[in-house]
Symmetry: C2
Subunit: 330 residues, 2 copies
């Protein structure tokens, strides 16, 4: 549909004509991508209300729920990411935007606890200050899809303490500073290694609106034990992922849908030779993992292919601009 | 679909299987209405992301927009009602829930400025304390669809001051108390009359996220001059409506889609006889209007009929419980 610059006459709007009229007035927007997003958003929102005959009380409860999500959010808590997580949207967005060719490391949900203030740490450092945690040594590599080590990848790593809380969930975090999180860089052999603690399963924050929703849905709020990783380097597609401990009671019922079989790993124990080589405690937990990253170019190509195929299947006549679809009006 | 109590195995979720799996785990919910609402919400949300191939940046911008809406909201400002208003959702919800048989007064949007602390005022009172406003005398009746006056209807009335702001938009409102709003009751002849000021067109609050969205959409943020009314009485369907002044520059482009032709009225001038009868100023503006209310029973019946028809047209097999559809699983 060509952008319509002439404003529609907005009078006597009804259940049936409100949607085209809202879309017509939004079609005054100059940005074709925003125009498309708004037209799909309004259509879905209105269809939802029509299909459910949403009552005034339900509508108001929903709007108040959204206010509550905004008001409990802060610099260190994002209730809307949490909401997106438990509705499966976050997993979907990651899957759309970071398609993985065979043999590359799969993605997982970012979650609401990544921060931008984690300390840079050389390989061998210990990112945990929790004496209650069970020591864990992680020895990892980053390679490309041809098996070639990648140097200079920036890796954000974060996990909870032994009580199942991220540092930002504790009072006084401003004074104490970050803990159980760090930023590392892969060396010439694509390697990085660090000390942390064995991850534990934990409930997502459930003292807010999202927790109450889960309760009303009869769902638990637990995530299986995991370590978060984020990989970034110019020319590579960002990889946001996590490694999950095999045998966790929530392995197949993650509240935020993040677990993939290829990301479920087994912990070993550090033997004497490894302990000496890495200055670690013999008998501590050992995690060894090879991450495989995709180039930006390959990811873009795959994403474009997937988008084109999916949109054709939906019968939509679209073109991709900056890898994002907008209606093809030619 | 019968409620599924057995939790699905949530592993290896993808663009294609995340939706049925999210719906399956939400199907553990005991409440059939909430189950239905969630299943339609999740489906529309995911379809929206798939159709638009929503980017990670767009997703995060949307989540931050929602946080912003929550954080600017307060006891006297509800940014999510405003958002619902400018997306046409509020008008749609009102149309679904308060269908109007022929000859009854049509509804309009509630807006975010109704409060619950307006003073009760006897007929003849003046609800405005704004010396800059042009005096207005309103003489109204409330009748049923057979033309019979209705006594004892509670009527909330609210409007802006002459600067186009509701009392709650001014600093110090807590100390000064309500202004340009009141609650009245219809007398034995269904009448109520009051003094206010001539409404003016005004911009909806545009210093927040919703205002910025309107700007990006190339839309103005103005509402045509109007007076809000809400009618309530046991046994009657609540009527939320507004009267709009004919000839307002925004008459056909209301930012929140509220105008209906039947609600656009003409102002007269108070003549000498009327001035004496109502203790009003000769030459002041005069608004005369007869409101026609629908019984709860008639409204319920009409709403159920509309719902049944609409759901059949959508090919959905539903039953109505408490006038709200849920899947018919028999």
């Amino acid at each position: 549909m060509a952008p319509q610059r002439e404003a529609p006459v907005l009078l006597d709007l009804t259940i049936d004509n409100i949607t085209p009229n809202t879309n017509r007035i939004n079609a005054q927007c100059d940005d074709p991508r925003l125009r498309y997003l708004m037209s799909r958003l309004v259509t879905h929102l209105h269809d939802f209300a029509r299909e459910t005959r949403l009552s005034t009380d339900e509508w108001m409860a929903a709007l108040n729920f959204l206010v509550g999500c905004g008001q409990i959010s802060s610099d260190v808590r994002h209730e809307f990411i949490l909401l997106s997580d438990i509705l499966g949207l976050s997993l979907l967005i990651d899957s759309i935007n970071h398609p993985k060719p065979p043999l590359s490391t799969e993605g997982s949900v970012l979650g609401p606890f990544h921060t931008h203030d984690a300390p840079v740490m050389p390989s061998g450092g210990d990112m945990s200050s929790d004496p209650e945690g069970e020591p864990l040594l992680c020895i990892c590599t980053v390679k490309d899809t041809h098996g070639k080590p990648i140097q200079g990848v920036q890796i954000d790593i974060w996990e909870t303490d032994s009580s199942g809380h991220y540092d930002v969930q504790h009072e006084g975090r401003d004074e104490k500073g970050p803990s159980e999180r760090c930023v590392m860089e892969s060396d010439a052999n694509g390697r990085f290694w660090f000390k942390g603690i064995k991850p534990v399963s934990y409930p997502i924050p459930h003292d807010g609106p999202v927790g109450k929703l889960l309760e009303r849905l009869g769902r638990h709020c637990w995530r299986p034990a995991h370590l978060h990783f984020m990989f970034r380097k110019e020319g590579l597609d960002n990889l946001i992922t996590a490694l999950y401990l095999r045998g966790d009671p929530y392995e197949t019922s993650d509240a935020v849908f993040g677990v993939k079989k290829s990301l479920v790993i087994h912990l070993d124990k550090v033997d004497k030779a490894t302990a000496e080589q890495y200055d670690a405690k013999e008998g501590a937990w050992l995690l060894k993992h090879d991450f495989v990253l995709v180039t930006q170019e390959d990811a873009d190509r795959l994403r474009d292919q997937n988008a084109t195929k999916a949109l054709e299947k939906l019968g939509l006549r679209m073109k991709l601009v900056d890898h994002l679809p907008i209606p093809d009006v030619d």
